[in-house]
């Protein structure tokens, strides 16, 4: 729930500053707002907190910012502590008393007692800020997987932070420039990495870390890291698969159970795939009054999964509400998608999520469970299988049969079915040696995505110089990475970078909170994540069968048709969405050569040909689609943030 923002240091007009920041993120908290500020006193810097509330737990109470009983601590908090009931009982047993029944006070008391060590006790999706008057410092922290966002910057000696960057842009003097390195990273890795954001000078606190800021500066530390066993040990601790299955079942049940804690009804999303179906089935067991479920349907058969959604709804005995998403729908919401995502995107898949959250909200639901995270944690993505086949091919480069496995991986890509073994091997870089390349699993995706940089202008290329986003990514890998099993290396890359950088943010939190809806993800419960990381690789990807153990856990809960269906990645129409019929006016204007030349980022001549190709070709191809959406969204981003440097809540709702 919620959004917050604030500062540490001097501001000229604290009230006005805090209200402006709260206005910018008002969509995150339609149910109320609160402010706290204290002026500078001696050597204690001034501090301010603003909070906008989406009331889910203890709606009539638990107002924020919340002060400790002695007034020395002030907390602004976005998210949920799912195990707050247990933590509260512990605290009561140790003599604490509570004024409210919610999780906010639990977090405040736990910090009061333990300081930063409280983080390891929290099971939740959270970002929060605590003004600690005892230590005269500001404490910021973010959940382990990166579900809830937190951005910060320093300007004129004052430290500012907020749930979304747009709140920071309301501060007089904080400018808005596109970070060109971030743009290169997006056109290579789909999102900026590390602390970088699309906004030059604005940073994002990384998942699993906390920050202390005081008069002398900031310091960031990590309190949790995704870890895997050494490859040599990865097979040793197999234990008993039946025992693992039982443990998985227990964890799934509990992770879902504590995510149903709310004082408002909790719904579930049904994509038609295994993961969301399993979550909905688990949730339905705890919802005797019936579970509300929600789905997206597409006009395009290659994207639509509504037949499976209906099967699952029938199985659960729920009436599933569906929103249909056409190409035109994607085009019409896309400018708003970019304002909310706050970064250029190379895919349109977030857009239907915004339509879905609108549907959920219209039905009076504020909280939904989804299956997000299972593909990272239990190895469901095609990229894991692809890497395995590429390694298999590389071991016998002359094989005429091994590369044919690539056809089996991508039955939904018609272009591949006609290719010879030799062509397939070439496309997937199947003969490249896996030795010493930490990004082996991701090289084809990286190379294909980076193909879209063909359209970068000469000036942009010159400014980027020899910068290499893939090398930059390698520099962020932990030392222990090289000791992990190849599947675990690939899982780490997905879970540590794409998951927070794109899936949970652009496609997750930002699209849900755009309509005041909170997503909850049982598969990202850190107990499940840690359990799955320790599982032997073959219990996750068994041969080329993905999510092996999870599938076992699902049997008995789901119809066989859902468990055994061919996995369909979630995708949405890309360039075609914008070019149906006559094409939207705003899209055409974003590709206007005069505008492109003035922006200076893309080559107007080749970009013009790209537009023509996407407009006329049946299947423009991966690179053209990537470039089209990337260029369009970069233009929309510049328009949303550069032209209007102070977007308001009203602007967002337009």
């Amino acid at each position: 729930m919620c959004g917050f923002s604030g500062y540490l240091g001097h501001v000229d007009a604290p009230d006005r500053t805090l209200v402006a920041m709260a206005d910018a993120i008002a969509h995150r908290g339609p149910d109320g707002r609160g402010f706290f500020h204290a002026d500078r006193k001696g050597r204690t810097p001034g501090v301010g907190l603003a909070h906008v509330r989406l009331a889910i737990i203890d709606p009539s109470d638990s107002l924020q910012p919340m002060l400790s009983a002695d007034g020395t601590l002030a907390l602004a908090f976005n998210g949920e502590i799912f195990n707050y009931t247990e933590l509260r009982q512990d605290l009561i047993a140790r003599g604490h008393t509570f004024r409210t029944s919610g999780d906010t006070e639990v977090l405040l008391k736990l910090y009061e007692e333990m300081g930063e060590a409280c983080l390891s006790r929290l099971n939740g999706d959270f970002a929060f800020a605590i003004w600690d008057g005892r230590r005269k410092c500001l404490f910021l922290a973010r959940d382990r997987m990166g579900v809830r966002p937190l951005f910060y910057t320093r300007h004129g000696g004052t430290f500012y932070f907020a749930s979304e960057a747009k709140a920071l842009l309301t501060v007089p003097g904080i400018g808005c420039d596109l970070d060109l390195i971030a743009l290169d990273q997006i056109f290579t890795l789909w999102s900026p990495i590390g602390q970088r954001t699309a906004f030059s000078g604005i940073s994002e606190l990384e998942p699993g870390t906390f920050l202390r800021a005081d008069a002398s500066g900031e310091r960031i530390d990590s309190y949790w890291q995704l870890d895997f066993p050494d490859a040599a040990d990865a097979f040793r601790d197999t234990g008993d698969p039946d025992a693992s299955l039982e443990q998985l079942n227990d964890l799934l049940v509990d992770a879902t159970r504590i995510r149903l804690r709310a004082d408002v009804p909790v719904g579930a999303c049904l994509s038609g795939g295994l993961d969301s179906s399993l979550v909905a089935a688990l949730a339905a067991e705890h919802a005797p009054q019936g579970l509300r479920t929600f789905s997206i349907a597409f006009d395009t058969p290659e994207h639509d999964e509504s037949a499976f959604q209906q099967q699952m709804a029938l199985h659960l005995g729920v009436s599933n509400d569906t929103v249909n998403c056409s190409g035109g729908d994607i085009a019409s919401v896309f400018p708003q998608v970019i304002r909310l995502a706050e970064k250029p995107l190379i895919r349109t898949a977030p857009a239907p999520m915004l339509k879905l959250s609108a549907l959920i909200r219209e039905n009076g639901i504020k909280v939904v469970l989804t299956g997000e995270g299972a593909d990272e944690v239990f190895a469901g993505y095609d990229i894991f299988k692809e890497a395995r086949v590429r390694r298999f091919c590389a071991r016998q480069p002359g094989s005429r049969l091994r590369p044919l496995l690539f056809r089996r991986l991508y039955p939904y890509l018609p272009g591949l079915q006609k290719q010879s073994a030799a062509s397939l091997a070439a496309f997937f870089g199947a003969h490249a040696s896996a030795d010493d390349d930490p990004l082996f699993s991701h090289r084809p995706r990286i190379a294909n995505t980076a193909g879209a940089k063909l359209f970068f202008s000469d000036d942009l290329k010159a400014r980027l110089g020899a910068y290499d986003a893939a090398e930059d990514l390698i520099s962020l890998l932990p030392e222990r990475f090289s000791r992990w099993h190849p599947l675990h290396q690939a899982q780490y890359l997905e879970t540590r970078f794409l998951l927070p950088g794109y899936i949970l943010s652009s496609q997750g939190d930002r699209m849900a909170m755009g309509n005041g809806v909170e997503g909850r993800f049982p598969f990202l419960d850190h107990r499940l994540v840690e359990f799955a990381a320790k599982l032997p690789p073959e219990l996750k990807l068994r041969g080329l069968e993905e999510k092996y153990l999870l599938r076992k856990a699902a049997s008995g809960r789901l119809p066989a048709s859902i468990i055994n269906r061919v996995k369909q990645p979630y995708r949405a129409p890309d360039s075609k969405a914008f070019l149906g019929g006559t094409g939207s006016d705003y899209v055409r204007s974003q590709f206007d050569p005069v505008r492109l030349k003035a922006q200076g980022l893309f080559n107007p001549a080749s970009t013009g040909k790209l537009y023509e190709k996407c407009a006329t070709s049946e299947a423009p191809g991966f690179r053209a689609d990537t470039a089209f959406v990337g260029i369009l969204s970069t233009g929309l981003w510049l328009e949303a943030f550069r032209a209007t440097s102070k977007p308001t809540a009203a602007g967002l709702a337009a």
């Binding site: 290719q419 070439a426 870089g429 063909l454 080749s606 191809g621």
Partner: protein, 89 residues
């Protein structure tokens, strides 16, 4: 080998896969796949181009990197299939 076939192929590649950006054009012997110029959809476009412009039929078994992975290889393949002698460019 610089032939009329090769120059046709080069022009097609620059126009269709490099969107007119001749500065990114590959050398005649360079692998188009390794350079990221064509992907699996691109190969099918390339096959359609060869069939349409040179009146040859590309058998499925011919769709291999050996025949199609460089400007030079494609030009040689067209020459072989069409039975025409290459004209010097």
């Amino acid at each position: 080998m610089s032939t009329v076939f090769a120059s046709f192929v080069r022009a097609f590649i620059v126009e269709s896969f490099l969107f007119g950006d001749a500065s990114a054009a590959p050398a005649d012997g360079e692998s188009l796949i390794a350079a990221g110029i064509i992907d699996s959809t691109g190969v099918l476009e390339l096959v359609a181009f060869v069939e349409d412009c040179f009146s040859v039929t590309v058998e499925d078994a011919d769709i291999t990197p050996e025949n199609l992975d460089s400007i030079e290889a494609i030009a040689t393949y067209i020459q072989k299939k069409s039975g025409r002698a290459p004209l010097a460019a």
